[in-house]
């Protein structure tokens, strides 16, 4: 099972209308080369799940600027004016989700949970349309899992089986999205041989990863 493919081959699995997840936090830990390839390919009508829409020139924000996103599910869009413009013009649907809820929704999607109860958002517009459940006198919102057709993530050191070690604050949503999509593509900073990573240090086990592209080094 050779998981290492070219960026073109990896990206060939992404079709118009798909739901995709992209890792990263304001571009830190985003799979930048995969994003560039998606922009170049021009697939459209995507539903994008990510923490934020980055900046116009950095991260998943490029896909917004290139008008490839039909629907965006994110916690923050304030650093990419184009997102707000398209949202206000009714050209793109935007669902804003509290960051902790978004992380947990992706985790639930990847771990077979049907949902979870969070106190976050109670008493705010976030509760609209959601079931409220009281446990021990405290009110929680029932939030549902999120999954995607494809997840595009970035890893620092990745072995040929797909085991990932992250560096610094790049872990963010990457480790969660790896579990919650039918197809998972990781962009590696560096690809190493199987066995080169201490099994005690692996953050994302390779069984979650379908394809590896890279490596910069």
């Amino acid at each position: 099972m050779n998981k290492i493919v070219s960026i073109e081959e990896a990206i060939s699995h992404i079709k118009d209308g798909m739901t995709i997840m992209i890792g990263g936090f304001l571009g830190c830990g985003s799979p930048h080369r995969l994003i560039d390839a998606l922009v170049e390919k021009g697939v459209k009508d995507l539903t994008l799940i990510c923490n934020d829409s980055g900046f116009p020139e950095i991260g998943s924000g490029k896909l917004v600027v290139n008008r490839q996103i039909k629907k965006l599910i994110a916690s923050h869009i304030g650093t990419n004016r184009e997102t707000g413009n398209q949202m206000n013009a009714g050209e793109m649907e935007v669902v804003l989700v509290p960051q902790g809820t978004l992380a947990e929704q992706v985790r639930a999607g990847g771990s077979g949970l049907g949902g979870f109860l969070t106190p976050t958002g109670v008493g705010t517009v976030v509760e609209e349309g959601k079931e409220k459940i009281e446990i021990d006198g405290k009110t929680y919102l029932l939030e549902l899992p999120l999954r995607a057709d494809v997840a595009l993530i970035a890893g620092h050191t990745v072995d040929k089986f797909g085991n990932i070690v992250y560096h610094g604050a790049t872990r963010n949503f990457n480790n969660l999205m790896a579990t919650a999509a039918d197809l998972v593509i990781v962009e590696a900073e560096e690809i190493v041989e199987v066995g080169a990573i201490d099994p005690n240090h692996v953050v994302t086990p390779g069984i979650f990863v379908d394809y590896i592209v890279g490596g910069g080094k």
């Binding site: 304030g78 650093t79 509290p98 960051q99 947990e104 610094g168 790049t170 872990r171 963010n172 969660l176």
Partner: protein, 216 residues
């Protein structure tokens, strides 16, 4: 002294040895520069680590070690990186002792609005809703008014970030505690009179019987 600097210094006096602290962007970030001597606090960065240190020296930036505002920072010895679900497990689970945030509006019920102005500015809530809901103590740190308009209201009219979660409001005019009975003015900056503070506040202030001088 600059108003913001004054507010940040007063907020810093709330920190206790061992506290886990999350600071919002802007004025709250300045609190990190004034941690009282002799105590250790641990700054959490919701994008995925604890042990947030100061900005690196020029030339020593690591583009992968950034804060939640995408600025290059450092991680101190004893820090740890984690993913977003662990980060918000820490936040939602009550393991953050203090969060300090700015506000567009805050009211006498402890409601906070700081994430959108309908039709004008919709940056999104980011991690703010989880922080305000999950942190043990929520401190709003801001200038008392904006362009002469009230920010401390009887009732917020902007979409809320969280309902009834604010504990303390610290401005250049004073320190206000949110209680079941309403907003209690605990400390006042001697540069202002009680009447001036009340005039700058839409909500009615209860004057603490032990009203103190606000000091930094």
């Amino acid at each position: 002294m600059d108003k913001k600097e004054f507010i940040a210094r007063r907020v810093a006096k709330e920190l206790k040895d061992g506290d886990v602290v999350n600071l919002g962007i802007g004025l709250p970030t300045m609190v990190a520069n004034h941690v009282p001597e002799g105590i250790n606090v641990y700054f959490q960065s919701e994008n995925g680590f604890i042990g947030l240190g100061p900005a690196p020296e020029e030339g020593n930036e690591d583009p992968y070690i950034v804060n939640a505002g995408a600025q290059c920072v450092t991680i101190l010895p004893g820090g740890a990186f984690f993913d977003s679900s662990t980060s918000f497990g820490i936040i939602r689970g009550g393991h953050v002792d203090i969060t300090v945030l700015g506000a567009l509006q805050v009211d006498e019920k402890g409601n906070l609005a700081n994430w959108m102005i309908p039709g004008k500015m919709v940056p999104g809530m980011g991690g703010a809703m989880d922080l305000v809901t999950g942190a043990k103590k929520v401190i709003v740190a801001m200038e008392h008014t904006v362009k002469g308009n009230h920010k401390i209201l009887k009732e917020c009219n902007l979409p809320l970030t969280a309902a009834g979660e604010v504990n303390l409001i610290i401005t250049e005019m004073g320190v206000i505690e949110v209680t079941d009975k309403g907003l209690v003015l605990k400390e006042i900056n001697p540069e202002y009179t009680i009447e001036e503070v009340q005039a700058a506040t839409e909500a009615e202030l209860i004057i603490d019987e032990n009203l103190k001088k606000m000091e930094i």
